[in-house]
């Protein structure tokens, strides 16, 4: 881990991560990235969109592009009617929602517990994750928001 990354990690860890469960895994998004957390309702599917784009919805007059983390990470689809929650992220004029199963607490792990992606991590995951934090119970996978919102990577991730 080079110095620059570690600085960033330290800063992020101190500020905290918004955590969410997707399947059986705990994920974290750096707090500074998060605009709000909301329950995605009335998602309108977009034909021909990359599969992990669940669709569009409106949130207080803004159009939100919902990205289904389950689909992005190649996990089985959420059951019909199962609850979901979205982590809102603002990029320029645009708002994105990362759709997870349920939201967790804000965690501030020890920066020293950070580790890069395990080398045997599935390629689909390593393209979306920035590394992991060892927690007392299990690990928290840090989502790489930049990669998640990269159109090119999104297409390749199917």
């Amino acid at each position: 881990m080079n110095q620059k990354t570690s600085d960033k990690i330290r800063r992020q860890a101190a500020e905290g991560y918004v955590t969410a469960m997707v399947g059986d895994q705990l994920f974290g998004v750096a707090l500074c990235e998060v605009r709000d957390v909301f329950v995605p309702k009335g998602i309108c599917r977009v034909p021909m969109a990359p599969p992990s784009v669940a669709g569009l919805l409106s949130l207080r007059g803004r159009v939100v592009t919902a990205i289904d983390l389950r689909r992005r990470l190649g996990l089985p689809a959420r059951e019909e009617g199962a609850p979901s929650v979205a982590i809102g992220i603002e990029r320029g004029q645009e708002v994105y929602g990362l759709v997870a199963d349920r939201i967790g607490n804000v965690l501030r792990p020890d920066a020293e517990s950070f580790e890069p992606n395990p080398i045997n991590l599935d390629a689909g995951w390593s393209g979306a994750c920035a590394g992991i934090h060892r927690l007392e119970r299990g690990v928290m996978v840090v989502l790489d928001v930049e990669s998640l919102l990269d159109a090119e990577k999104l297409r390749n991730a199917a």
Partner: protein, 903 residues
């Protein structure tokens, strides 16, 4: 970017535009100290601010320009070259400012420009020393112009026109033309004429600004507030949100039926709408913003092309959304260049044509409904229909036969075709004739249209019709496979509900559905299928047999196609929002919008959709839009069914002759006598196999073309249905092979046109005998048609039905037969023929007592109540669509029976 710097940029931008305009004015009124002082002040301010920000390049140029202007203020004569150099400096400054938006001053060398500014100064100083009187003579003007520019590398300003060439050339030319004793004087006049032209431009182009000079200007400025675009956009979003909330509230109020809510809600609703309108208005800018640079452009074109041109503009106050404004800048510039370069003639030509030497370009804007119309008119040579004609042939855009049928106005529309240009010369002014097609596509992108009117030698008028705003657009809300989409209404010509048996019906050609729309076939696509939401079952013939199909007919310039949707829910004014970058690759959608119920739907981009569907521009008649007013052009464009039978060469029959296309399991074909028959619609239908066609076996499907004659069917077995093409039949080679009329080119491929009548005749042999025994004698029919194709197609058909057919290739030929006192029982005449058309021909026939009683049937590919009335008035007994064989036979039968009754 630094906020202060941002402010500086915005302000400087405005100032520069002002300098531009003032300089042009100053050039004309070199003695007007007030203007000069104003320019000087502006440049000085610019220099000061640049220095403050430490922008060295900018301040160096501004300093040199200021020095130059200072000399003018000190009484040095103002020259075209001098003004040009200062203008060039302004351009350079703008260029650097552009780079500055990224943060810092871009590197570059401006010594060329600065030395030019300075050199002019020195040269003038040199002149000034020798000068005895303050008033400049033409000689001095010339000397000052030429000397410095020669000594300084002119390459520094490549993009700029070289006024030098004009001034050097002009006096010489004049000297040759008229032996004036003082050529210098003439040169000065020339210069004066050009300057005058610019003066007029300025005056006309900016009446507002002119009014707002002096104190008034100051007063205006205090009433203005500069608002960031972001702020406006944010307000816009907030208002959209408010609109949504209001809609939700209204919905709740409707359900709860609470009377106390009604009045305040109503007020809220009104206020919200008012607010929305207000914000929309705040986004509007006067169209003169897009015109600002045009006077300057015309000045330069004037000089480069050596054509004095006056630019007049009206309606600059008409307001447009700023986004739209950006979009029309380029097309407008292009049209102006085009007018100056191609439209307006050279001085000599204009003199010869008796026009004033100074050409005129008129810009006019006015509001019309929800649109703005901008006209660019010039008083130049107009569009030469003959040159366009020649060019079309040269470039293979259309054949002479096609072009002969077009009026001049229609020929002129060809200039919008990609790659079309009538100037052989490549000029740096309008480029290589790439252009008008770009103008058209640019305007179409924002849902506008371009029209062209050109009346001979009196010039041309281009009218752009553009929407007021892109932020809100009227759209059809449509449904396809459970999803909702917005379809911008601009391109939707009509929505039809098609069902079998109605005038609007969908017919299948192989698996390609076609909408029959007033005698034309429009290719139809299923929206859900195009978007990948539905498989090929969307096109199953069963779908179109039973119920209604909703089709939105779209027209995009020359292209027309139908879009099948499951339902049209309503029309709605939608607020267009850009799509997220993750979805940017989906070109089929131009953006998205939030509907009243809070759902987000995609807005379909009709152009991208047409491309996706593969609607080919060239396969559709460019003039389809000009409709019935001019019936000639579409005459021979007819849908052809392309298929394969036997040999590898594709075969074609006019689709209109085919009643149905069937695919029948081969086992259902039964051998009877020496041919095949099929149980078909409660009867037995003879099925002929075309030469070389493979007979399928077992349950394999055999494609069959079904023809109908008086309710009797006849089938023609073929190998494979290929496609439908709408094509002009231009028979290239006539064939001696039985059953083939000839060959022609369809989309660049050789196709054999099948003589259906031969097969039909064979299949219906029995019936022909019947007719012959019924009729006491063979009826003589005269067929008048200038098209060889139709003569070839109809004659055998008529003959097969027992008529004795005579042919005439023109009305004149037919009239010769009349002079020969030949007699016919019926005359069938085409309406659209060169020289003497069907209507004139009928009148002449009716005027001759010898032929007056002969019933006449008119053939035309067009139909409108007006046309039919004219046809009847001319003396025709009946009117039949050109491809409607059955109707023709019925009309003939009717003529015959009335003849028999009379006999």
């Amino acid at each position: 970017m630094d906020e202060l710097l941002g402010e500086f940029l915005a302000e400087t931008d405005e100032n520069l535009d002002r300098i531009d305009a003032e300089l042009l004015r100053f050039e004309r009124e070199p003695n007007n100290q007030e203007i000069l002082n104003k320019i000087f002040r502006l440049v000085h301010t610019l220099k000061g601010t640049c220095g403050f920000f430490g922008l060295d390049r900018l301040s160096a140029i501004a300093h040199a320009a200021e020095t130059r202007l200072g000399r003018y203020r000190d009484g040095q004569p103002v020259t075209v070259e001098g003004v040009s150099v200062v203008l060039a400096s302004i351009d350079r400054i703008k260029e650097i400012l552009k780079g500055l938006e990224d943060g810092s001053e871009p590197p570059g060398d401006d010594s060329d420009l600065i030395s030019r500014l300075e050199a002019l100064g020195e040269a003038a100083e040199y002149e000034a020393v020798e000068r005895t009187e303050p008033a400049p003579s033409a000689h001095e003007l010339k000397g000052e112009r030429t000397r410095p520019t020669r000594s300084v590398a002119p390459e520094g300003l490549i993009a700029r026109p070289q006024p030098r060439s004009f001034f050097n050339a002009a006096p010489e030319r004049r000297r040759e033309e008229m032996p004036a004793p003082q050529p210098e004087q003439t040169a000065q006049d020339d210069a004066a004429a050009v300057l005058q032209a610019e003066a007029d431009q300025r005056e006309n182009a900016e009446p507002e600004r002119k009014k707002a000079s002096g104190d008034a200007e100051k007063g205006d400025l205090t009433q203005m507030v500069r608002v960031r675009v972001d702020t406006l956009e944010h307000l816009m979003i907030t208002v959209s949100e408010l609109v949504l909330t209001r809609n939700q509230l209204m919905d709740i109020a409707r359900r709860t039926d609470e009377p106390t809510l009604k009045a305040p809600l109503h007020r809220l609703s009104n206020v919200t709408s008012e607010l929305q309108r207000g914000i929309m208005k705040a986004r509007m800018l006067p169209i003169s913003k897009a015109w600002q640079k045009l006077p300057r452009l015309v000045r330069e074109l004037s000089l480069t092309l050596d054509k004095p041109i006056k630019l007049v503009s009206e309606g600059g106050h008409v307001e447009l959304d700023r986004q739209v404004l950006e979009f029309i800048r380029d097309p407008l510039t292009h049209l102006i260049r085009n007018a100056a370069d191609h439209g307006i003639e050279s001085r000599a030509e204009r003199r010869a044509a008796g026009k004033p030497e100074q050409g005129k370009i008129r810009l006019r804007a006015f509001a019309e409904g929800g649109h703005i119309v901008i006209e660019v008119a010039d008083d130049g040579r107009g569009l030469d229909a003959r040159a366009i004609y020649a060019k079309c042939i040269e470039k293979g855009i259309a054949s002479a036969a096609e072009l002969d049928r077009l009026s001049d106005a229609q020929l002129q529309q060809f200039v919008f075709r990609p790659g079309f240009s009538t100037t052989n010369q490549i000029t740096d002014v309008s480029g290589r004739g790439v252009g008008l097609d770009v103008v058209r596509s640019d305007v179409e992108v924002i849902g506008g249209t371009v029209e062209l009117k050109s009346s001979g030698s009196q010039g041309s008028v281009f009218s752009l019709r553009i929407p007021l705003t892109l932020a809100i657009t009227a759209a059809l809300i449509v449904e396809a496979e459970g999803l909702t989409f917005a379809l911008p209404q601009d391109n939707v010509v009509e929505v039809v509900r098609a069902h079998a048996g109605s005038d609007y019906r969908i017919e299948m050609v192989n698996s390609a559905p076609q909408l029959r729309l007033r005698g034309k076939l429009v290719p139809v696509f299923d929206l859900a299928e195009l978007l990948g939401e539905r498989g090929a079952e969307a096109r199953s013939p069963e779908r179109f047999e039973g119920g209604m199909t909703t089709v939105a007919v779209l027209e995009l310039g020359a292209r027309a196609f139908g879009l099948i949707v499951d339902d049209v829910l309503r029309t709605e004014d939608i607020v267009v929002k850009p799509k997220a970058h993750l979805l940017r690759s989906l070109s089929v959608f131009s953006g998205n919008t939030i509907l009243g119920d809070g759902s987000v739907i995609m807005i379909i981009d009709p152009t991208a959709l047409a491309n996706l569907a593969g609607v080919d521009e060239l396969s559709v008649d460019i003039l389809a839009a000009s409709e019935e007013a001019v019936p000639a052009p579409e005459e021979e464009k007819l849908p052809l069914l392309l298929f394969r039978a036997g040999s590898r060469v594709r075969k074609a029959v006019p689709l209109s002759l085919v009643t149905r296309l069937e695919e029948i399991p081969a086992s259902k074909l039964e051998l009877c006598d020496d041919g095949y028959v099929l149980r078909y619609r409660g009867g037995l239908m003879p099925v002929l196999f075309m030469d070389g066609v493979t007979k399928q076996s077992g349950d394999e499907l055999q494609p069959i073309l079904v023809f109908n004659e008086d309710g009797r069917h006849m089938g023609l077995a073929i190998d494979e249905i290929v496609d439908v093409a709408e094509e002009t039949i231009d028979m290239e080679l006539r064939s001696n092979t039985a059953g083939v009329l000839g060959t022609c080119l369809v989309r660049g491929e050789i196709v054999e046109v099948v003589d259906v009548s031969r097969y039909v005749g064979e299949g219906m042999g029995h019936r022909i005998l019947v007719r012959e025994t019924e009729s006491s004698r063979t009826l003589r029919v005269l067929l008048v048609d200038d098209s060889q194709f139709f003569r070839n197609m109809l004659a055998p058909l008529l003959a097969a039905s027992g008529y004795d057919v005579s042919l005439a290739a023109s009305a004149h030929e037919a009239l010769e037969l009349k002079e020969e006192r030949q007699r016919f029982d019926v005359i069938i005449s085409d309406l659209e023929m060169p020289d003497l058309d069907g209507i004139a021909f009928a009148k002449m026939v009716k005027a001759d007592p010898h032929w007056a009683d002969t019933p006449m049937i008119a053939l035309s590919s067009h139909s409108s109540p007006r046309l039919i009335a004219r046809v009847r008035a001319a003396g025709f007994t009946d009117y039949v669509g050109k491809f409607d064989r059955q109707k023709l036979m019925d009309a003939l039968d009717a003529c015959v029976s009335s003849w028999e009754a009379a006999a």
